[in-house]
């Protein structure tokens, strides 16, 4: 039933369909990238702190090896690619997973909800700067790694590795959308993020093959999407053996990613409805 009748905004020219979607993507990409490059201090800090974090991360592990093996290229390459993957996994928690919460804290969530833009696209805004930071990160982590440890980074199949990293980012995005919607209740989700990050890193075989895990843990690892990202990345970069054959692992990863992305979109719809019911959109 329509009371009072009337059309929509008078002389406004609205884009529709694919064009509208493109406008949203353009808006999200532009804002994401602009904001990323305007936090110059963080950009610079990321680069400067990399050698410190590399040393802090790798040295304790080397202590478990005899001194004469500290320069073993294979071991160091496992750790290098694990370090890169850490970034991809943590993006799911900190970047995409916190997207809704960040908008709430900034006070922009309600204004975004006043538009008809796709909620999934709105909260995936940080995927654009994350892709840039991943590329930049690869470059300077590689440079510092070579300088500090003096070994060459193995990259047997660059295209394959790039494809895996991109797929990994999509998986991370899907995971983050679901996670972000699920933990929305908790205003201070940082502690959960920290704990979950370590659990995911451990369970997903980010630093070493899940084939080395004891049996129950190996099954859990195979049920985690990031396991396939890590396994395939090592396969393309270092030529290591995968747990399942690569084609199967690609299939599993693709299905997982698609499911996570769809679940993410559905979760956002549910969360929006719940927040509108409880009045929590504006709360922070």
């Amino acid at each position: 039933m329509r009371r009072g009748g009337g059309g929509s905004s008078r002389s406004t020219k609205f884009a529709r369909g694919a064009r509208a979607l493109l406008l949203e993507v353009e808006a999200a990409a532009e804002v994401g990238v602009r904001t990323y490059f305007r936090y110059v201090a963080w950009l610079v800090t990321d680069i400067i702190t990399t050698p410190a974090w590399l040393v802090l991360f790798i040295t304790p592990i080397l202590l478990f090896l005899p001194r004469d093996q500290w320069g073993d290229p294979r071991t160091l390459n496992f750790l290098f690619w694990g370090f890169i993957l850490w970034d991809v996994v943590s993006a799911g928690l900190w970047s995409f997973g916190m997207a809704i919460r960040r908008e709430q804290q900034m006070g922009t969530l309600e204004f975004l909800m006043l538009t008809n833009a796709s909620r999934a696209l709105l909260f995936s805004r940080s995927v654009y700067p994350r892709l840039i930071s991943l590329a930049l990160g690869l470059a300077y982590v590689y440079a510092f790694f070579r300088a500090i440890f003096g070994v060459e980074v193995l990259l047997l199949n660059p295209l394959g590795a790039a494809a895996v990293l991109l797929a990994g980012m999509a998986t991370s995005l899907g995971f983050g959308l679901v996670y972000g919607a699920l933990v929305f209740n908790f205003k201070n989700v940082g502690p959960l993020n920290n704990i979950l990050q370590f659990v995911l890193l451990g369970v997903s075989g980010v630093f070493f093959p899940p084939a080395l895990y004891p049996e129950p843990l190996r099954t859990v690892a195979l049920a985690t999407p990031f396991t396939y990202v890590a396994d395939l990345l090592r396969f393309y970069a270092m030529g290591t053996q995968t747990v399942l054959d690569p084609a199967t692992e690609w299939l599993v990863l693709t299905l997982y990613t698609a499911a996570l992305l769809l679940a993410g979109v559905a979760s956002l719809t549910l969360v929006e409805r719940r927040l509108k019911k409880t009045g929590g959109l504006g709360a922070y």
Binding site: A41, W53, L63, L192, N194, I195, F208
Partner: protein, 279 residues
């Protein structure tokens, strides 16, 4: 008619400690994370270490570090690392965070030195870190069938306090230098990364070149890590305890003096420009 307390400083100390400890315990999640983090990091290192080295992993670890228990060694390092990060971050962001909340200027209405107030905040956080240290390390020692003696605990607590307070001095320098740029968290992150890498929390510094060891010697956390490893984990170390403590005391005075200097200069400028409440 109000009556002033006889010992104002004690009043202030009590106020700050109560506030900070109440806040800490009301963010239970953060407290649990800080307590659990040393175990999570240690678990990760131990897991990866075992995976790359196999059954000889722990034997190699002992040969490289002198520590019979990698778990205890790493938990000690983890507790110190988390504690130092908390102190540096909390102190360096104090101006910005309090300004954002609108409470910064209000502290200046009280009859206390602001520097003293922020140091008391650092004292409160250090006290909390000592509590967490006790929890974590006692758990590991107990799991290994031992007990921390009162002497060991006393030395550890004193050393943690002596290591953390000067970090507050570093925090005040960061706070004063970066408040204008609004990216104080980035600066804190930068300082934390180098403290973490250079202090030898998770490894003996002897494996690094001499020049790195000398640079590390300028950090109070380096000495704290050595003391804790020797007292709690029974790792042989170079300098005797009293020398380490003396060095830490000198560093504490130096860092706190520098922190006060930078902070006071910022404060004077802010008062002149009316920027105490600006955010």
């Amino acid at each position: 008619m109000s009556r002033r307390a006889r010992l104002g400083l004690l009043c202030t100390l009590r106020g700050v400690m109560t506030k900070e400890l109440k806040l800490a315990f009301r963010y239970v999640g953060s407290l649990v994370t800080i307590a659990a983090m040393p175990f999570m990091v240690s678990g990760l290192f131990l897991g990866i270490g075992y995976a790359v080295a196999g059954p000889a992993a722990f034997r190699n670890f002992e040969a490289n570090t002198g520590a019979g228990s990698p778990l205890l060694y790493m938990t000690l390092g983890g507790v110190l690392m988390i504690a130092s990060m908390v102190i540096v971050e909390n102190t360096s962001t104090v101006i910005r965070e309090e300004q954002l909340m609108g409470t910064f200027e209000l502290h200046y209405l009280t009859p206390n030195s602001a520097v003293l107030l922020w140091l008391l905040h650092a004292l409160a956080h250090s006290t909390l870190m000592i509590l967490l240290f006790t929890l974590d390390v006692v758990a590991v020692v107990a799991w290994q069938g031992g007990l921390l003696t009162p002497y060991e605990w006393g030395v550890a607590a004193a050393v943690i306090l002596l290591a953390m307070l000067p970090l507050a001095g570093i925090g005040l320098v960061i706070a004063a230098l970066t408040v204008r740029f609004k990216e104080v968290w980035a600066a804190a992150n930068l300082v934390n990364s180098f403290i973490a890498a250079l202090s030898g929390f998770y490894y003996p510094l002897e494996i690094f070149p001499r020049v790195v060891q000398l640079a590390a010697g300028a950090l109070p956390t380096t000495h704290a890590a050595e003391v804790l490893k020797s007292v709690v984990a029974r790792v042989p170390v170079e300098l005797p305890l009293w020398q380490r403590v003396a060095i830490m005391a000198c560093l504490a005075l130096a860092y706190l003096a520098v922190g006060k200097l930078f902070y006071s200069r910022w404060e004077d400028e802010a008062r002149r420009r009316g920027e105490l409440s600006k955010y």
